[in-house]
Assembly symmetry: C2
């Protein structure tokens, strides 16, 4: 491991939200400092970082200074402008690398890539206008869901098409952006594999968790997922295949649908993932440290699961539950230090050891 | 719990070493920011704190500004000058409170207090000159150990007296400071209880750990300690008695000798304690979060132990073991971000889940 970053080194993190916050804490356990780059003021990650740069992704000077001040760069979200990445990459390694960002920033690229490496997705078709939407509906059927290809997450930029007559309204909701129509899948569960791949190519996956969404936002993740041993193995093999095909370095969230015909890849996220927060209460090394280890060229840690855990997101006013949760046994609270509890805003999460 | 500090509040921590560092990380989990006050430059806690003040404990202006910027003050070491505490306490609550500091800053006060509340210590006597040292040796016998009453830790300010003729050299080593002679105790083990008391008076103790020292510095703590169920109960009752007698708020480390005649109190430390680091790998809520909860007026968390753990300190050059430890299964590494590995310096620790 000659490329192992030495304790005392600085890791640059693009994005200062709760994922950056928990990455920074994990990095401190390994003796690293973190420098956060974030356009917004008072980022949650800034409370536990050595340094914060408040600047936009179009600020070339700030980006260059940021890159010069760190030893390696990672990110907590995938929608970083290409120009910003170019500027940073001129002087510092970005891990995970550029290829996965190009893929995951665009749903069509992502689904094409997944299919090309032999993995199944829900049926999908590209939609750019009414004619292609009608053709897509004819091919895929309804119900289906229309999503913008870029920048959508947590239910934003999405419209359901329950019957062909919903098509015009759904298309209008895309506001002219290229979209993808996805067929509804008859799934019994959605599961996530939080997978890690080291700089040396080794792969380690956390035990798959089972996700429940509410209003398009992750509500709970429970481990173990209620799947068979064969499905568990399949899930891990799928994730490993994706990581290897991308020569990936870091942690990735791979969301899968469990269907009678096997596992379908729903979405990949080239970063630590909300559905992996349970690892903080169930493993010796959690997803945040695993990501930092990979990015820093360290061996991956032992992420074997030693407890059953339910992770519950605290969204918006859910934080009002904190005084009661604070008294509950076997309960670990994680708050993100956000000042205001807006509807739909992720304020924290709770890991309950079952 | 009307006095519960709200997420978003700031906790002031006196001292910026590794204990402050891990306290700051724990505070972030509950949504708090930390402001570190530390005379030394580049403190380890500063890497994960919202704010750092670099100033001496004699800097009244800096202390007043620090107090004004935080909601409550705690500390990571006990030897804070009285004048500094007076200045802070004029505007902000200090938790744990002043009484325990007055006691724990002076070995004679500490031992007197422990004996007064009906708990046993090793035989001891105050020593201020050769005459009182000879009288103490006559009363306690040899071997014995002479320690300065103030400011000593990790084997500093101590001299062994194996036979009466060692007395002059031992006294000289005290450099004129008042000292205490402690009789050697025939103990089978040294154990620690990491005990917490909330603002509401509730007490919760972590399972006692068994300590092994090397060259006067803690080497390993292992849980469970090899003690009987009755000894375990006794240990926890002793710790609870100390906390209640002091109307204590926060986490305290209580070191006990296991002897054929029962448990003797060796030392108390009014703060999170090195022998409680195992809680990071063995409990839903660790000692650092438990301390923050108490200081912030929150209910104490669930610190029940769910795993057997061995904590190993990484002292000085021990950090060279990190690349190998990083590959080991069931192993959690904690490094403190200290630049230079000096002999005797605590560089980090490792929790191995057994």
């Amino acid at each position: 491991m000659s490329e192992m970053l030495h304790p005392g080194a600085t890791i640059g993190i693009l994005g200062g939200g709760q994922l950056g916050r928990m990455l920074s804490v994990a990095a401190s356990r390994l003796g690293f400092k973190c420098h956060i780059f974030e356009p917004g003021a008072e980022p949650p990650a800034g409370h536990v970082a050595h340094r914060v740069t408040t600047a936009g992704y179009d600020d070339a000077v700030a980006l260059a200074e940021f890159a010069a001040s760190v030893d390696v760069v990672t990110y907590e979200f995938e929608n970083i402008p290409t120009e910003a990445l170019d500027l940073i990459e001129a002087t510092r390694a970005i891990r995970p690398g550029r290829r996965v960002l190009a893929i995951s920033q665009d749903r069509i690229h992502e689904k094409s890539f997944v299919n090309e490496i032999g993995l199944a997705t829900a049926p999908w078709a590209e939609v750019s206008d009414m004619a292609s939407l009608e053709a897509a509906i004819a091919k895929i059927g309804t119900p289906a869901i229309l999503k913008t290809t870029r920048l959508g997450y947590d239910g934003k930029g999405q419209a359901r098409i329950m019957a062909p007559e919903d098509a015009p309204a759904a298309l209008a909701a895309m506001e002219g952006a290229t979209a993808v129509l996805e067929g509804f899948v008859d799934f019994s569960a959605e599961i996530s594999v939080i997978a890690a791949r080291g700089l040396d190519g080794s792969v380690a996956c956390f035990d798959p968790g089972e996700n429940v969404h509410k209003s398009g936002i992750l509500h709970t993740t429970t481990v173990p997922a209620r799947i068979s041993e064969a499905q568990r193995t399949d899930a891990i093999l799928i994730a490993a295949r994706i990581l290897n095909a991308l020569d990936y370095v870091g942690v990735m969230g791979v969301e899968l649908f469990v269907t009678p015909k096997g596992l379908l890849v729903n979405e990949i996220a080239p970063r630590v993932h909300n559905s992996g927060h349970w690892t903080q209460a169930g493993c010796t090394v959690d997803q945040f440290e695993q990501h930092i280890r990979a990015v820093a060229g360290w061996p991956l840690g032992d992420g074997s699961r030693y407890a059953d855990v339910e992770m519950l997101n605290l969204i918006g006013d859910d934080v009002a539950m904190v005084p009661d949760l604070a008294k509950a046994p076997r309960t670990q609270i994680h708050l993100y230090g956000k000042a205001e509890a807006k509807p739909g805003r992720k304020m924290g999460h709770v890991n309950r050891v079952l």
